[in-house]
């Protein structure tokens, strides 16, 4: 089994969906728990790449190819997915999006990927997301965190509006709010009353972990 788990990790690092599919099937054939295959086989591959991405040793390209391989493995494990879900506790639920008026979404996509890999359930609202949509989705999904990103100074000012509207609706304490993006600095995030801020992916994940503790 140890060798199989190592191969799974390698398939993710190599971004090889065909290999990941075959290995997931082997796991089922050998009656390995799908949870074990994911947690001890495939996921560690993503963790390795995540660390390498932070250090600039690999790029988003490798992360996305790895994610595809991961999705291919999950597809095979689907028959056991109900059982898997019953056993798996996610760290929390995050509603994420690029704030109103802003269409620059690569940073948001990277954070989304890292949150997913780190065990969060992520609901991605995409780009140019109205404040109202963040709030209504978070309520509907019973989210733990609302995460908003911005690239422009004329759009980042919708972030305090988001926090203000949560207060006006009397639901500020139901959600933790995280903000980020190129023009957003920690002091400003604190000034507007945000609960969390991440300049880098690792900072963002650490902040999310702290918020859901």
């Amino acid at each position: 089994m140890a060798a199989l788990l190592q191969q799974m990790k390698a398939a993710i690092i190599d971004g090889d969906p065909e290999k990941a599919t075959a290995l997931a099937q082997s796991a089922l054939d050998q009656e390995m728990s799908p949870l074990e295959a994911l947690e001890k086989g495939f996921s560690p591959g993503m963790s390795v790449l995540g660390d390498q991405f932070e250090k600039g040793e690999v790029f988003l390209t490798e992360l996305l190819l790895a994610e595809e391989a991961m999705n291919a493995a999950v597809e095979v494990l689907k028959p056991k997915i109900a059982e898997l879900k019953a056993q798996t506790q996610t760290k929390g639920k995050v509603v994420i999006g690029v704030i109103q008026g802003d269409v620059h979404d690569i940073g948001k996509n990277i954070i989304k990927l890292f949150l997913s890999v780190s065990g969060y359930e992520v609901i991605d609202l995409g780009r140019d997301v109205p404040v109202r949509e963040f709030i209504e989705t978070a309520q509907k999904e019973n989210a733990d965190i609302i995460a908003a990103s911005a690239l422009m100074t004329t759009t980042m000012i919708y972030m305090p509006e988001l926090i203000k509207q949560l207060g006006e609706r009397g639901i500020r304490d139901q959600f933790k709010v995280m903000v980020g993006g190129a023009p957003v600095v920690r002091s400003w995030a604190e000034e507007i009353g945000s609960d969390g801020y991440g300049r880098t992916t690792s900072e963002a994940i650490a902040e999310a972990d702290r918020l859901v503790e």
Partner: protein
């Protein structure tokens, strides 16, 4: 040449693809092209002199562009064109733009690799936000610079007249109109009333606000430019394309604003270089661009003065200069802020790299373009003087590579901790809009040091672009 309305039609009839699937095409195609065209980043040769590799990059970018196409996020369709259509569009592009008017008028021409003519220089604050009270002085700091062939200003910091300037709100339109007026006022105040603006507005994201501001009575001259930005990577939307519909009926030059991310969907330096050159094509096809400003950014360091980013800058501008007659600016993005020796080294390295690689220069975003008020005309001066010095002294790519390699160790290992420097109110006398003695002396020291390393500044100012 392929007609803009044909492009709009293709955005409505092209292949329907989910955005995620398009992103994966970018990922896979860039990876494939890097291997097929044998492109290799050599950290020792920051400014390559390998014409064959440069031309392979250009070919790789063509194949990548024709394979991937341009994604329209509004229709979720891919706009594609043929190689013939692309080549005709590139050939049909203008090979000169005359900016400004009267005695401030300047004409920009394409440059060659190792061109002895100094680069055309646009001094910019790249949308750095300033409070209303000092916005004018910040714009004056760029407009007054001798080597600024054209200029632009900053962005308004959050409020105008006590009203928040939110994207898409009425205040955004008002801020855009105010912005172009203040820029023109800045040019008038420094004695260059006809100096061209390479972009009229930075305070607005939406097309309607930019279009509303583009009127002579608000301060725009006939040949002041307007930029249209692609969405990283290889994407456009209708809001941006609306500006094209307007500009084709107006007198203003059509500008492309391309900020591909190194380390993003297109991968490392090689894939990102392919992706950046392909953005020249995207602009020409989807935006009908006549000039293009490139601000490639390292996804981790948020600047373009690292070893890999200088290589990418050198390769891409050489590829464009050798294979087209289009006008392309290298937009300097540095990690450090004003009035630091760190910033001086970064600015000089980028200026020299762009200059010998056949680019026009657009300096500079300082302090990672993150901190309000931390960008001044001085950064433009430092980069532009280095760029002029390199060109006027006949510097080759090989010489430039040697110089840049001597300067890089002064900052590259510390780039994550780059100092954010001083605000314009700290490093300028805002009454006279002049740099402080501290900043001037700091620059003189660095200039002397870099001069001893081999950059000959003696001819700077003797010839314009």
């Amino acid at each position: 040449m392929i007609d803009f309305w044909e492009i709009v039609r293709r955005s409505e009839t092209g292949e329907l693809v989910k955005e995620r699937d398009f992103d994966m095409r970018v990922v896979r195609t860039s990876k494939k092209m890097v291997e097929k065209y044998d492109l290799k980043f050599n950290p020792e040769e920051v400014i390559p002199s390998d014409d064959a590799m440069v031309d392979r990059l250009f070919e790789a970018a063509i194949e990548y562009f024709l394979t991937v196409g341009i994604y329209c996020t509004d229709t979720e369709r891919i706009i594609k064109c043929t190689r013939d259509e692309l080549e005709v569009a590139l050939n049909a592009s203008t090979d000169q733009i005359t900016w400004g008017k009267g005695r401030d008028q300047r004409t920009q021409y394409p440059r060659k690799v190792e061109d002895p003519r100094p680069p055309f220089c646009n001094f910019t604050l790249v949308g750095t936000p300033y409070p209303e009270e000092i916005f004018l002085q910040a714009a004056m700091s760029t407009a007054k610079e001798d080597l600024a062939d054209c200029f632009s200003g900053g962005s308004i910091l959050h409020t105008l007249g006590g009203i928040e300037v939110r994207s898409g709100s009425p205040a955004e339109v008002e801020a855009a109109i105010w912005d172009v007026g203040k820029r023109r006022e800045a040019a008038v105040r420094v004695g260059h009333p006809g100096k061209g603006m390479y972009t009229q507005v930075s305070a607005a994201e939406k097309a309607d606000a930019m279009i509303a501001a583009a009127r002579p009575e608000f301060g725009a001259l006939d040949r002041d430019g307007m930029l249209m930005g692609a969405i990283a990577e290889m994407k456009v939307d209708y809001d941006r394309m609306k500006k094209v519909a307007f500009l084709l009926r107006a007198t203003y030059p059509l500008g492309g604003l391309m900020g591909p991310l190194m380390g993003g969907y297109a991968g490392g330096p090689e894939g990102s270089a392919i992706n950046m050159v392909a953005h020249l094509f995207l602009g020409r096809i989807a935006f009908m661009t006549e000039y293009t400003n490139f601000f490639p950014i390292d996804i981790h360091e948020t600047c373009n003065t690292t070893r890999a980013m200088l290589w990418l800058t050198a390769m891409c501008h050489q590829a464009m200069a050798r294979n087209t007659h289009m006008l392309h600016f290298a937009n300097t993005f540095i990690a450090a802020g004003p009035c630091t020796d760190f910033a001086c080294y970064e600015l000089i390295n980028h200026g020299v790299t762009a200059s010998v690689s056949g680019a026009a220069l657009s300096p500079a975003a300082s302090a990672r373009n993150m901190y309000p008020e931390r960008c001044t005309g001085m950064e433009g001066r430092i980069a532009a003087e280095a760029a002029h010095a390199a060109a006027l002294s006949g510097m080759t790519r090989k010489d430039a590579n040697a110089l840049v390699n001597k300067i890089l160790p002064k900052y590259e290992d510390k780039i994550k901790e780059a100092p954010k420097g001083q605000k314009i109110s700290q490093c300028y006398d805002l009454k006279s809009v002049t740099p402080t003695d501290e900043y001037l002396e700091l620059y003189q020291q660095v200039k002397k040091e870099v001069g001893e390393m081999g950059l000959d500044y003696s001819l700077v100012g003797s010839r314009r672009h």
